[in-house]
Amino acid sequence: MAYPMYEVDWSVLPPEQNRRFNPTFNIATIKQVVNEAIERVRMPTPTRLRDLIRQIRAARTAAEERSVVNKECAYIRSTFREEDSVWRCRNIAKLLYIHMLGYPAHFGQLECLKLIASPRFTDKRVGYLGAMLLLDERQDVHLLITNCLKNDLNSNTQFVVGLALCTLGAIASPEMARDLASEVERLIKSPNAYIKKKAALCAFRIIRRVPDLMEMFLPATRSLLTEKNHGVLITGVTLITEMCENSPDTLNHFKKIVPNLVRILKNLILAGYSPEHDVSGVSDPFLQVKILRLLRILGKNDAEASEAMNDILAQVATNTETSKNVGNTILYETVLSIMDIKSESSLRVLAVNILGRFLLNNDKNIRYVALNTLLRTVHVDTSAVQRHRTTILECLKDPDVSIRRRAMELSFALVNGQNIRSMMKELLLFLERSDAEFKAHCSSAMVLAAERYAPSNKWHLDTLFRVFLKAGNYLRDDTVSSTIQIISSAPAERQAYASMRLWHSLEKSAVSADATEKQPLIQVAAWTIGEYGDLLVSEASNAISMVDEDGVDDFVRPSEEYVIDVYQKLLWSTQLSITTKEYLLLSLAKLSTRFTTQPSQDKIRVIIDTFGSHIHIELQQRGVELSQLYRQYAHLRPALLERMPAMEVAGGAGERGADSDAEQEPLSDASPERARPDQDALLDLIIGSDPLTNGDVEHRPAPSTPTNNNTTNDILDLLSGLDLTPSAPVAPPASVVNNNVPLGAPPSSLLLDGLFAPATPAAPVVQELPTVMALDKNGVRVAFGVQRGGEVVTLTMRATTAQDTLTDFLFQAAVPRTFQLDMMSPSGTVLSPQGEITQVLKITNPSRTPLRLRIRVSYTVDGNPILEQAEVNNFPPDLFN
């Protein structure tokens, strides 16, 4: 013991430098070792982790904290540069603390890799912890640890394998998953439960990230359920659940484990007290819940499997102690399973009763869960849920936002033809009090419910107006246009009523100056009063009852001039949006043909003239154009501003889709034989391209006898009709007019162009993008030149042919329903090898999703008709940004 410092316990050197057993050591090496040791002692040891934490916590200001952190970070960086491996572990630990405080720590990533590669367990433990915190699949660095992981997955120390599995489970990028799946599969078969359970969860993560890899884990998975160890059991159930949700085939494959699961569950509830897994009197609730969930998946739509689990579900439902959270946890999961599988009716009654108890529970958490479950089961048994309506409506008033949200959704699920009046009353109250985040959702759901279940037209309008009042600007844009449609198609008496009601609200807003908060209401009111202003001021409307729900009739018929005064006030307000003012201005112009007295006419004219110099270009243009209707084109005014014809209300989901074929029938007689199946097929194509099509499709084939040349136009009608859904974003008011006002004589066309031009904000920046090849077959090429300009993308289709001359060339295109497609007419129908056919397509995409396009090209070559189809989805992804 002459050199005690070489004792292994004393050595600070890494093992490879430990020269205790080195036979060749001499005085020189001794000297070197002594020097190194002295050097280490002399060199200040780095701050300890707990000292750093103390220092940081002692900092009184943020600046002080920053300076401590920056100093330490600078020091840590310098040790990383010097490749100091002795203190690396400590430095990384400090860095991780600093990282948690929100400071950048990415420079420690590579050091974590070095720690992981170290043979010491401490280094590995901290290294893997750092890797999990600092690395993720977004950085390529994470792939560098794949090799280390592979080595450690083969380690003899179970805890090293455990660390590697844990890190793999946390990062689990697709690349990593592919590289290490086979290792994980091997470890699932390990006899060591500690490794087995971790490997099973890694497999779960791998499958979730790369579902293709599932196949290889199947054989090893089933045997997991035969284990005694609860860790292995629960991870096994988790893995199987993921597999079953992944593919229907696997789901069928695992149907046979239902008896195993039932047995495990039965053992859990029947076995006596086991201290290891007991949670306040319930045996392993974690495992029970996981099994119940898997049973639910396996028993769904499967009578045989459901039959096998009926008994155990009943046992769990009746035997579980409910005084504690754990018991309710299990009951909650059991109820979900009972409602989802094909269970016996008595069992369902039991489940609904449990939910009823939940709903009355004092614990907010249980109540929340009850509402949540009722919402999930309402489709199975509505009447059972209806019984709890009063309680649910009570929950709308709960101070807790989570409960209110659930209650709101559940309330909408409960609305039906019988209870619509009372439900809407409650929901209107809720809407009025609710937070901004609910208003949009709640109001649009109310509009939908009112549309669906309205007991009368008058009630429907009243409810809509109330929703408009209470939701204010949170109302979704499309509600304005759909409400206008409803008013427009109502009987005249109802229209008068609507204009009177809306006038009441409009006047009130103008007086109390809260119009800016209720712009959708102002828009609808402006439209309605503009259209039916004559009915508003006419004494003939006195017969219409204006008694409101409180039995009060405080309606005062306004004079024409008063109406115009209110308009003026609104139009000159600085806070109303341009869109609202556009509504008001057009409405005012319309009133000029509805009102009869001279003073009101003069007032209107003055207001309109002032807009000729409005600062906003769009309003200015309107002002100038409308004032022209008082001068040069005065004779056109009455005809142009005539009442719009009743708009057809789009609706009746499902019926219209079915009707469409019938509507097309007469067309087929007149049109050329060839065009007809094409149209149908294209229609199918469009409908088929979007599985969500709910059938609210509206299209009117052109009544004119189509010639060969305008089949394209028919298709156009079809296509544009298809896109005209009620939920499409609201068109600017101008285009509402545009669609319906009968176009005037040719001399006024210029004026009309300006008057009814869609409101384009500033001229959009036009941007040329590369050409996209859509079709290249048999020498026929179809390519798109893409041009971007704000909201609208313009595609220029260019068709060319290599050798043959093509006749009857017809290009058709369809887009998913969220897009709007406008096709211009093609440059020709005959395509020669020297020439080309061009056709312009304009695509609007309010949802800004990537563009997909289906195209069909038909032509005749040498007398043979040819048909080509293709789907084009290689457009630049940022097309609409």
């Binding site: 844990c166 609860h230 907010k364 958490n365 936002v401």
Partner: protein, 157 residues
């Protein structure tokens, strides 16, 4: 599956963060900040669940610390509360009546315990004993290889 777990103090200081989904650092910070503010603003009588963005947040306060898990929509919220409780029990057993300071100064241990309880966002062990046994065995491994003597502060210190 759990998306992430956060531990933070009543003052809104983050004490532990574990992410099982990959987000850019910036987004993680944003989520953390927003969630802490939202949870701290809730009153004690309110329920422990919060529908937030596309996740369901389950949280519970233990003394000065909030434990907050973001779960997927179909996960059992009540069970998540049990899981949080289990984690707290483990911390308590390991540190011996745990307090916030234990977790601050031994944050790596808190991570190690969590990693023995949850893996890849799913529960891996339902026995408290097994978790603590695994942690103790690994701590022992660490101790054995840490040299004693005049470099007594050799470990993390």
């Amino acid at each position: 599956m759990m998306q992430f777990m956060l531990l933070f103090s009543r003052q809104g200081k983050l004490r532990l963060q574990k992410w099982y989904v990959a987000h850019p650092d910036k987004l993680k910070k944003k989520i953390t900040r927003e969630l802490i503010t939202t949870v701290l603003a809730r009153k004690p009588k309110m329920c422990s669940f919060l529908e937030w963005k596309d996740v369901k947040v389950v949280y519970k306060r233990y003394a000065s610390l909030y434990f907050c898990c973001a779960m997927e929509q179909e996960d059992n919220e009540l069970l998540t509360l049990e899981l949080i409780h289990r984690y707290v029990e483990l911390l308590d057993k390991y540190f011996g009546s745990v307090c916030e300071l234990d977790i601050i100064f031994n944050f790596e241990k808190a991570y190690f315990i969590l990693d023995e309880l949850v893996l890849g966002g799913e529960l891996q062990e339902t026995s408290k004993k097994n978790v603590l046994k695994a942690i103790a065995a690994q701590d022992l491994l660490q101790e054995e290889e840490t040299p004693q003597g005049f470099f007594e502060d050799h470990g993390l210190g």
